[in-house]
């Protein structure tokens, strides 16, 4: 088992004729993801690298039974592309695009609630159930099938941690990059609940960073609802207030959202916080045993 995606996931790639979309569509296909369609308005009818292209998500879904979509559409048009997927009846939308205006994402949220669509991202690396389905830009080769669930607001830091997990013999059920933007789709609590309910997952790694209070809320959720062990890591302990650290969400504003507060919240919830990424596998092994 796993969460959100598996061998039955049928993926449509929105923005498949762009540079990143074209490259990663083939990468995902090569990994074994069931990439059933691509969408690029005006290019319907073509077949690129063995993937049929459609003008609209609606057509792609009717023709191929796609149930998940990944967004590589450029930022100014990405909000609309996300809405298109939701109204076409796609169940899971993974938005990779970076730099989408917040106002556009705020408009997406109620539509997703209304249509019952699930959203991951934007500004995220995607998600993977190792050996079954990779959606996004994650490097498939560092992941290994196993029993650890992982969620993270960051990209390469996630790879760093996954690499260490895999090297120390800890494979993964599903790993999700939830994205670094202030307004995003599925967040820690939603995913923690899914991992709690997934029989294959025996422990969870949560990688957070400065900004907002999502980690504090996750800590409370873990304390009240999780029976499975969780290990956390927080990036940005040395970040100064008022400066945006690359991710739109990674900013300490008015003295809140600091790493210190987040670490305290996890400690209070009984969740060990690794001082550096290399401690994570060891902490997890102690708890899973």
């Amino acid at each position: 088992m796993s969460i959100l995606v598996n061998a039955n996931t049928r993926l449509v790639v929105q923005g498949i004729t762009g540079r990143d979309g074209a490259f990663h569509a083939q990468k995902m296909k090569a990994y074994g993801t069931n990439v059933v369609a691509g969408v690029s308005p005006g290019k319907g009818g073509q077949v690129i690298g063995g993937i049929p292209i459609f003008n609209t998500v609606g057509e792609a879904r009717s023709a191929t039974g796609a149930n998940a979509s990944v967004i590589f559409v450029p930022a100014p048009f990405a909000g609309d592309a996300i809405l298109e997927a939701s109204y076409a009846g796609i169940e899971l939308v993974v938005a990779i695009t970076e730099g989408i205006p917040v106002r556009d994402m705020i408009r997406v949220i109620p539509a997703f609630k209304c249509n019952g669509t699930q959203l991951i991202g934007p500004n995220c690396p995607g998600l993977i159930t190792p050996g079954e389905c990779l959606i996004g830009i994650l490097p498939g080769n560092i992941f290994k099938k196993g029993n650890v669930g992982l969620m993270s607001r960051s990209g390469t830091l996630t790879y760093e941690v996954v690499n260490q997990l895999t090297e120390s013999g800890l494979g993964q059920t599903t790993c999700i990059g939830i994205g670094g933007d202030p307004v995003a789709g599925l967040y820690y609590q939603d995913l923690l609940q899914m991992f709690e309910d997934d029989p294959e997952t025996s422990g969870v790694v949560l990688i957070g960073e400065i900004g907002g209070d999502a980690e504090e809320q996750a800590a409370r959720f873990i304390k009240n609802h999780m029976t499975k062990p969780v290990v956390a890591f927080i990036a940005g302990q040395t970040a100064p207030p008022g400066k945006r650290m690359g991710h739109a969400g990674a900013i300490i504003s008015s003295g809140s959202g600091t790493a210190e507060e987040k670490i305290r919240a996890f400690n209070e919830a009984g969740v060990p916080v690794a001082k550096e990424p290399s401690q994570i596998p060891e902490l997890l092994k102690q708890l899973i045993r």
Partner: protein, 377 residues
């Protein structure tokens, strides 16, 4: 992106939010020329991109033209939190009966725009939020229908007992929301919003920030941008596809990915060093990016050692290594550099670097320790 109070006031006025008359001056001579000699009470306010102006002495009353000139002279050139005051706004004082706070912000938790109001205006709202959060009333706004009349009125009635005042305030809330949405704002504050003894409601001070990701469709807002030298460095970096923030330490860092870059800074600190910067070079192994990044790093004279930390995912480490070698051939520097490569094709990358005599290590921790050691030589 931030703008000055006088710019926010101009936007308020354009959207029909009442503000008192004011004159913007860049020099004492300009104050001399523009302020009428009428002994009206005025307020001279520093225009800088920093809060806490009042406490820093950047806001002074003037009872006459002479006093306005004198106080402008004191404030112009003053340093407030690292910003030099280059402009003052001289506004008509109003007869304050009561002060309120009004703010709009993008809220992560409700994933909506939230309107916040409080009867505790005029003070630092962060303090109110910390000490007496119950004194701030918050309402999430449905993005599909906007701030509804009844909603604005209901909120205004919690601040004003007189329905006339509540109606005026409700209208201001709605105008501020329209301005917020139209300009892709990320923060819009009126603090204080004042009820005057003449039964008027006016915005005395305003603050607005904007979503950097939306500036491409906000040419009018972009025109108002004003940047300091440090910010200019950060903007130049952004234009080159890099994300750079200058800090005060001695270890320059170059990392791919924001989260890993933060974790790298943390690790330097954990092992007893101080990071000189945050620098995310993104996903590409383009040598030009590495060259640009090294240029920026080495332009900081505090840097005593450089730590390069790359995790190859989609990016292949041997490509990054080639980029680094090209870059370092072009930039001759005596500053020691420690390179850590891990992930896809790391072994090939490390061998390439070693053959060029570069110092390479296998883990983040080792790289941090080594860079700190070298910075102290």
């Amino acid at each position: 992106m931030k703008i000055h109070e006088y710019q926010a006031r101009d936007l308020f006025r354009k959207y029909g939010i009442p503000v008192p008359d004011a004159i913007l001056c860049h020099s004492v001579e300009e104050v001399e020329a523009k302020v009428p000699d009428d002994n009206l009470l005025r307020v001279v306010k520093a225009q800088v991109h920093a809060g806490g102006r009042g406490k820093a002495g950047g806001v002074k009353l003037a009872r006459s033209k002479a006093e306005a000139v004198e106080n402008a002279g004191k404030i112009l050139g003053m340093d407030i939190k690292g910003y030099t005051v280059e402009k003052v706004l001289i506004g008509d004082a109003v007869d304050i009966d009561k002060e309120y706070y009004v703010g709009l912000i993008n809220d992560r938790n409700t994933r909506n725009v939230v309107l916040m109001v409080s009867a505790e205006g005029g003070v630092e709202i962060e303090e109110v939020a910390k000490v007496t959060p119950e004194k701030i009333i918050k309402v999430p706004i449905d993005p599909l229908v906007g701030l509804m009349d009844w909603q604005a009125r209901e909120l205004a009635l919690q601040l004003f007992s007189d329905i006339r005042h509540a109606r005026m305030a409700a209208s201001i809330f709605q105008k501020l929301y329209k301005l917020y949405i139209d300009t892709d704002s990320s923060l819009a504050e009126i603090n204080p919003l004042v009820l005057t003894l003449q039964d008027e409601i006016v915005a005395i001070d305003g603050k607005m920030n904007f979503d950097d990701n939306a500036l491409y469709r906000q040419p009018g807002i972009l025109e108002m941008r004003e940047v300091t030298a440090d910010e200019q460095k950060e903007i130049d970096a952004t234009e080159k596809g890099l994300s750079y923030i200058k800090l005060d330490g001695t270890i320059g860092c170059m990392v791919n990915g924001a989260g890993l870059a933060m974790a790298t800074m943390d690790m330097i600190k954990l092992y007893g060093g101080e990071p000189a910067n945050f620098l995310d070079i993104g996903g590409s192994s383009n040598p030009q990016k590495v060259i640009d990044a090294m240029d920026i790093l080495l332009s900081d004279k505090n840097v005593k050692a450089v730590m390069i930390n790359i995790f190859g995912g989609i990016t292949r480490c041997d490509d990054v290594a080639r980029g680094l070698i090209t870059a370092l051939d072009q930039i001759k520097t005596s500053i020691p550099i420690v390179v850590r490569l891990s992930g896809t094709n790391a072994r090939e990358g490390l061998e390439l670097l070693k053959s060029k005599g570069l110092l390479t290590v296998g883990s983040m921790g080792e790289a941090a320790r080594k860079a700190i050691e070298l910075s102290k030589l």
